[in-house]
């Protein structure tokens, strides 16, 4: 019996020839990522357990990316950044992307990719549930809590129960109006919010492999919304090109064997996919966008690790170009690199940033912003009964701030089309 990519990576990191789903193993960690929300708690547990003067297991393998509560006057949030700074300086950590400096990046999952910390075949843990995003690079990546992160800081190891794999294959070609966001919302709607609990979501098929790295990250980002332990897409030339432009570090490419064992396999015909939303208040509350055309919205939000990448804004700009939005529309680039892309990349002779400004959008600085609500003064946060169409990944009650607000998760195409009409709108009404 062969092995899946995930099983091969985990076996290699446990110094074993093979591993079996359900087996508990200890793996060697290649990268530990933390941020401003969970870093301070992780640091305090690390010191409590390993001593005030303890050193991290390998300073080259620790990456700290403040991104959640950045542009706020909240004193606790700002104090947490100071704790990160102090730790970085004390441990002399090379990979810290400090707020208020040229080095600031923004949302950790995209920053990891852009700064070359995502490498095929590696094991990456992060104190954020959307760490599964990095699986787009053919690596094992998953979210953990402060205690597990502190354990890694001290030992470089963590226990893992080997997950069973589920394979989602998309054959053929997606229609032009379909984005990765539609696909992940379709699949979560099909399997439910616990449909992949403690399993790997492995994506395959020619339609998936035609996606850019950005779109692959969107697909892997929301594995956690299906309960998944991790997501993975085999590394190919697209992956290797992206990685080689960003790091010289060596890596290994793993492929699933043809006779690997899967808990579940499903094949979709890519050409039949339609734009999807997840209605309030659950990511699996699936509906076709065209079935929701009577839902009036107060706000459109385009941003986050899921929906705030260059390709997401290019899609939105295609729809908003030369038009005016009908509702408050927030544009939040995930990282400073994406912000620079908005300033420099052109469509019809205009920068994307100018297209958004002319359309009447409000532009925020790179960070997680209102994706998870956050402090009261967070850009784009809801405070009342707003109905929002959003390219983010969660629509739990109160997720974007107010418990009374309602969030429809959608692709950047759908969020932009809806911004123009003030109701949930199928992008096919706007494209061509």
């Amino acid at each position: 019996m062969g092995l899946t990519i995930t099983e091969k990576i985990l076996a290699a990191h446990a110094s074993k020839d093979k591993v079996t789903p359900g087996e508990t193993i200890w793996v060697d960690v290649d990268v530990l990522m933390t941020h401003d929300v969970c870093g301070p708690g992780t640091i305090s547990i690390f010191k409590e357990q390993f001593g005030e003067n303890a050193k991290v297991f390998d300073r080259e393998k620790v990456v700290i990316i403040p991104d959640h509560y950045i542009f706020t006057s909240d004193k606790h949030a700002n104090r947490n950044i100071d704790i990160l700074r102090e730790f970085v300086s004390e441990q002399n950590l090379p990979y810290y992307y400090d707020v208020g400096t040229e080095n600031y990046k923004g949302v950790c999952h995209l920053a990891l990719a852009q700064e070359g910390h995502n490498r095929p075949g590696e094991v990456l843990f992060g104190t954020d549930s959307h760490t599964c995003t990095s699986g787009a690079f053919g690596m094992f990546s998953t979210g953990i809590g402060n205690t597990d992160a502190a354990f890694i800081l001290g030992t470089g190891k963590l226990w893992v129960k080997v997950p069973e794999s589920m394979q989602f294959e998309f054959t053929g070609k997606f229609p032009d109006y379909i984005m990765a966001k539609d696909i992940i919302l379709q699949v979560i709607g099909d399997i439910g919010v616990d449909g992949a609990t403690y399993r790997t979501m492995e994506w395959t098929g020619d339609a998936i492999m035609n996606f850019s790295m950005e779109e692959r990250m969107t697909l892997c980002n929301m594995a956690i919304e299906g309960g998944g332990k991790n997501a993975v897409i085999e590394a190919d030339e697209v992956t290797l090109k992206y990685v080689k432009e960003r790091t010289n570090k060596p890596y290994n490419v793993y492929r699933s064997d043809h006779d690997a064992n899967y808990y579940f396999k499903k094949t979709y015909d890519a050409s039949t996919m339609e734009p999807i939303v997840a209605k309030p208040h659950s990511p699996d509350n699936k509906a076709l966008v065209r079935e929701c055309s009577d839902v009036k919205i107060d706000r459109s939000y385009i941003g986050s690790c899921t929906g705030g990448k260059y390709t997401d804004f290019l899609a939105a700009a295609n729809i908003l170009n030369g038009k005016k939005v009908a509702v408050n529309t927030f544009i939040v680039p995930a990282t400073t690199e994406v912000y620079k892309d908005l300033e420099s990349k052109m469509l019809d002779g205009k920068t994307l940033l100018n297209i958004f400004k002319e359309a009447g959008c409000e532009i925020g600085d790179a960070s997680c912003a209102a994706c998870l609500g956050g402090p009261k003064d967070t850009f784009g946060r809801t405070h009342g009964t707003e109905v929002v169409v959003s390219t983010t990944n969660r629509n739990f009650p109160g997720r974007m701030g107010s418990k009374q607000s309602e969030v429809y998760l959608a692709s950047p195409y759908t969020a932009a089309a809806s911004a123009l009409t003030g109701r949930i709108t199928d992008p096919r009404e706007m494209l061509n």
Binding site: T24, W26, V37, C38, P40, G41, S44, E48, Q49, F50, H68, Y69, D74, H76, A77, N80, G126, T127, D128, S129, T131, G143, I144, G145, N146, T147, D148, F151, G154, T155, K157, W159, K161, V193, D194, T197, Y198, I224, G227, K229, S282, L372, G373, G374, P375, K376, R394, F396, P397, G398, R399, G401, K403
Partner: protein, 185 residues
């Protein structure tokens, strides 16, 4: 580890996510400062919509206004308890509020791991759906060794699922104690 856990039940439904357990705006408090961390108790479960708070009736505050601890000791949950974020503030806030055990039909994995590895409380899994058999406020007793739950208010006994692969970590107290016992650190 306590062998017997007794106290009043607070009953919740399916898919209680981490934003309901501790809304993100509160994730800024220190988890190590004794005074500041009390805020986590104050806001524990403050994101649960009113109708779902304390079933079957709902509209029951988990922590009374201006209080930092709950009068409830054991949470009864449905499926996929703790889904969403990896924030360890979620099990931490429940512990700070005074929760000693959770019994749910199933858990989201990160919440489950955090509960066990951090040694906050034992995340028990029930053998069937308890939400319909236990009411918020019922007096419960858990016998950890035998894996049984007694609802003293209705004289019903329920079998809990064995702990499986995490039993040794639970027994040791947390992941660090487990690693010390087994000579890893």
């Amino acid at each position: 580890m306590e062998q017997v856990i007794a106290g009043r039940a607070y009953v919740l439904g399916d898919n209680i996510d981490t934003d309901q357990i501790i809304p993100a705006e509160h994730l800024v408090y220190s988890l190590s400062d004794p005074e500041e961390k009390k805020n986590y108790g104050k806001f524990a479960l403050s994101g649960v919509p009113k109708d779902d708070a304390g079933l079957p009736e709902g509209n029951k505050l988990f922590v009374e206004e201006e209080k930092f601890e709950s009068e409830y000791t054991i949470i009864i949950g449905g499926k996929n308890f703790g889904c969403g974020s990896s924030r360890e503030h979620a099990p931490a806030c429940l512990k700070i509020a005074g929760i000693q055990a959770i019994i749910a039909t199933s858990y989201a994995r990160i919440f489950y791991r955090n509960s066990v590895d951090g040694g906050f409380f034992i995340p028990f899994e029930s053998s069937g759906k308890l939400v319909n058999n236990i009411r918020t406020g019922n007096n419960l007793t858990i016998n950890v060794e035998t894996g049984t739950l007694i609802n003293n208010s209705s004289n019903q006994t329920f079998k809990l699922q064995p702990l499986g692969e995490v039993a040794d970590i639970v027994k040791a107290g947390n992941i660090f104690e487990y690693a010390r016992k087994s000579g890893m650190i």
